[in-house]
Amino acid sequence: MKNKNQEEFFSEKQMLFLCRLVFGVILIDLLFSAFSNTLIHQLQSPVLKFPYVDPTFWVMYLLRIPEFVSSNLYVGWFWDVILFISCIGVIIFPQKKWLIAVFIIFYFVYYIIFNSYGVHHTHSLIPFLITPFAFLFSKKSFSFAWQGLRYFLLFSYSAAFLWKLFRFSWLQSEQGILIMKKNLTPYLYFNPHSFLAHIYFWFLDNPVLVEIFFISGFVLEGVFIIGFFTRKYDKVLFFISLLLPFGFWFLADAMFYEMIVLSLTLLPVAAIARVADK
């Protein structure tokens, strides 16, 4: 019979495995950023900022930190190099908490720069900003912090469901089609004869299917509410959490693959142990 602690708490080895896994995904994403020309030194000293009404962004701009980092090529390079080195450092030495702290500080500034000079406060980088915090905790606290991240994930999808529910957008006629047209018109204009465009045009010919697609996503987001009451269906939620980013990509041309890092929190300790303890 399994010890209850083994069901709920991670061993040191499992925690370090998760740390390496998460930072491995972050490293891949940083490489994507390099190919995307969105590392700080590649931004070419951007000028238009969008702090919006987020006080955290305001404080950063009042301290002139984003301008200082992004407007000087050498500082930009320094920032990017430290991001990579600290991320690789954590993968090699996951037990070094100071390396994780350095990564979080540098990534936080990167997050502010990306969202404000990208002129849209996208949520895609949030999982990479939030998840590393869990690894700053001691072994036993880590299991609680990891579960806290699970609730963070449950909240994000549940909130998306509730916002749609109370804004009645799920009742709005052609909501799915309008989202699709708003985000995919440039693609369809430039590539009307591609295979993917044919799929989109087919969906535009069958708008009911797009609405079913949108409503299905809305319901699937709502399913995450169950996770607040029981962990019994976490495997199902894990599967759904892998499907939803695909849905966002298809319907809105928005990539939320970073959320998959948080999806790991839905896996039971035993599943992590099977891989980590090999």
Partner: protein
Amino acid sequence: MEKLFLYKVYHFNKKLFILFVGFAILTLFCNLKGFEITPFYVWGMYSEKETAPTEYPVFKIMVNDKVVDYSTGYFPANRFFLLSPLSYYTDVKTVGDPLQPFLEKKLKSQYLWLKPYALRVLNSQKEIQQFPAWYERYLQQTTGEKIKSLKVDVLQTSYQKNHSIKINSVYNLIDEK
């Protein structure tokens, strides 16, 4: 009760409990008020009601007289940085930073207190005028091509009954030679 996550945290470590509860309360508060203060996020995820626009704008970017098809062959983050600031520039080019009237309307007389700080955060006319030069630099970084000329047009398009896309009008946004 013993099965509750927060109950377990409370008995394990009171400080951790306060941290979790504080984070949850502030997140709920921000969501109920509808404003976002990093890290207390509001997860709307396409929840706003969409209304059918009369036209869909499409940016036509011409580098050295060749059209840049940003819709394929670029990573999503790259596309985001090519389009989102450009879209914002179309809004601010003539009227200035829309955040200023928004704050004045929202805060009324309290805006006077915030004004000296707001000016450090809002986009000035000088910064808005610098945008085309920055965009050229960033496009050069992205395409790897030395840019001799840059032209950005906004195509106002609409869908026809057979779903083909028709250009209704065109206006120029950037013309750098």
